[in-house]
């Protein structure tokens, strides 16, 4: 009975209400502003469909790339301590701190013909400016830190002794990783994928520098806003929020289910 009136508990509930309202009020206001007509018009607008789809699959690709190249790295960071480890961890966090347009400019700087890497890519016929490849590179750049950090924490929470037991029973290092560690870390990997693609789907500043066309959803929202105003940019935002909500709730449910197994 006493615990119900504890001031800290009341404060916690109060802050829960404040934080929820802080996030929800502006979003709800935006979601209820567009008329039903405009919203349905937008659903069938091929440009909008294309942009939202591009946003989803480019963010998905960024998450898959992060999964493939980030997982072994996250494992290394979780398990080994080595000289300069903190420095390496600092490097991973850099994309979170750098202003987004700067990321775009930095990437353009190495993919142009003035840079050896860019001139090599041009010779191979790979173009980054204004292409889906460029978009995916940017999204991976901004999303990767979220993936690596989430998965590193996941690996750290798995007891080392389980791996040691596996190895003492004769399993190789890689077999232990794939059969013991990876399945146990599955939930944090899913969280990492969700975090990475959520970060990627919301990216605008770096994208608009590297690729204005083809337009993904945030760029289209910006373009519609500048060309036609608030009225015609809101419905796209509403649709994007709605689609993302379904996707991310779905992903969370999947990861929950897996962890229960």
């Amino acid at each position: 009975m006493k615990s119900h009136s504890d001031p800290f508990l009341i404060m916690s509930i109060g802050s829960c209400v404040v934080v929820s309202l802080f996030i929800l009020v502006p979003l709800i206001q935006m979601m209820i502003t567009p008329s039903w007509e405009l919203l349905t018009e937008s659903i069938f607008d091929p440009d909008i469909q294309k942009a939202i789809w591009l946003s989803i699959y480019s963010s998905g690709l960024a998450a898959i790339i992060s999964f493939i190249i980030g997982t072994p790295f996250a494992y290394l960071l979780a398990r080994k301590s080595f000289f300069g480890k903190q420095f390496v961890e600092g490097i991973i966090d850099l994309p979170i701190m750098i202003p987004h347009p700067v990321i775009g400019i930095a990437i353009l700087g190495i993919v142009g013909k003035d840079h050896w890497l860019g001139s090599l890519l041009h010779k191979l016929g790979v173009q980054m400016m204004g292409t889906v490849s460029g978009i995916v590179v940017v999204l991976t750049f901004v999303g990767m830190p979220f993936y690596i950090n989430a998965v590193k924490n996941g690996f750290e929470s798995i007891p080392v002794r389980l791996e040691n037991v596996s190895r003492s029973l004769g399993a190789s290092f890689s077999r232990t990783f794939f059969q013991i560690t990876l399945p146990l870390a599955w939930r944090s990997i899913m969280v990492g994928i969700i975090m990475c693609s959520a970060r990627a789907i919301s990216e605008f500043g770096a994208i608009v520098v590297v690729a204005y066309h083809p337009m993904n959803a945030p760029v289209l929202i910006y373009e519609r806003f500048t060309a036609f105003g608030l009225k015609y940019s809101q419905p796209i935002a509403v649709l994007l929020i709605f689609v993302c909500l379904i996707l991310f709730i779905g992903l969370r449910l999947v990861s929950k289910k897996n962890s229960a197994l």
Binding site: L108, K113, G118, V209, Y212, H213, E223, F228, Y232
Partner: protein, 327 residues
Amino acid sequence: MKIYKNWVTILFALIVLTGISVSKVIAEPTGKLIIFHAGSLSVPFAAMEKHFESRYPKLDILREAGGSTKMARMISEIGKPADIMASADFKVIDKSLIPSHASWNIRFASNQLVLCYTANSQYASEINHTNWYKILARKGVIWGHSDPNLDPCGYRSLMVLQLAEKYYKSPGLYNQLIANRPQKNIRPKSVELIALLQTGNMDYAWEYLSVAIQHELKYVTLDDHINLGNYQLDSYYGQAQVTVTGKKPGTTLQRVGKSCTYGITLIKNAPNQEAAVSFLDYLLDPSGGLDILKQMGQPPFIPSRVPTQAMKEKLPTVLKERVIVKN
């Protein structure tokens, strides 16, 4: 007698001093002054900000640059507070801000379009004012312009190409050039194209002369009949017409060629009206802001212009002396 004289002098000095300090208190702008302006005005406005703030240390100028149409929308639709709006196309002020958000529009400077490149651009050693359109039509040359729907520099770039077709008497030139410019070479603002030039992602980009000078780019200047820089050729420029998006997705409207003329206005209910008028007075001063514009490749109108006597009447008193009525 001597004491009496001294007293008079002191009294006189006191009166003068109080007079000066009072007038200084009234004249000295303080607080924040918010200026929205076209991206192509960023460099001269940054210099003006520095000058003006050093003159009035209690004033803090906050500038926000963007496509002029977008900046006007920020005021008219979002209701973002601003004191002054300067547009790269003076018509944007007429269309989106007058009469609800502004009541007058001063034309203060002009500009022209040039084709920018760097030493590393393809055919950089070959290009000049007679062969530029042949080079832009070559396969593999990457050139671009800003979005005609968002940035006046974008539709003006297209107008230049249309006028070139007429001037060089080369039918089909416009379509031939556009066919060699994939959509991905379009950017929201012309200033953004500079990063693409400087990183070797693009060979040529259409910019205003001022932007080319301020960013120390190489550029090709074009004949007055093409460059949209000479207002005496406005009727010739009128032959160029570009379709841009209208007020609603799916609708369109026509932009007709006209010389590049910058407009500036004071926003109604400006949060800091006094400082805004004082800044405008400085900007329109031939030895103040207009001189900075001149140095930075944006030929100013000295004096600046309003189209009608009626509009001149609406100006704040100090600004009336800075402008003439000229259409």
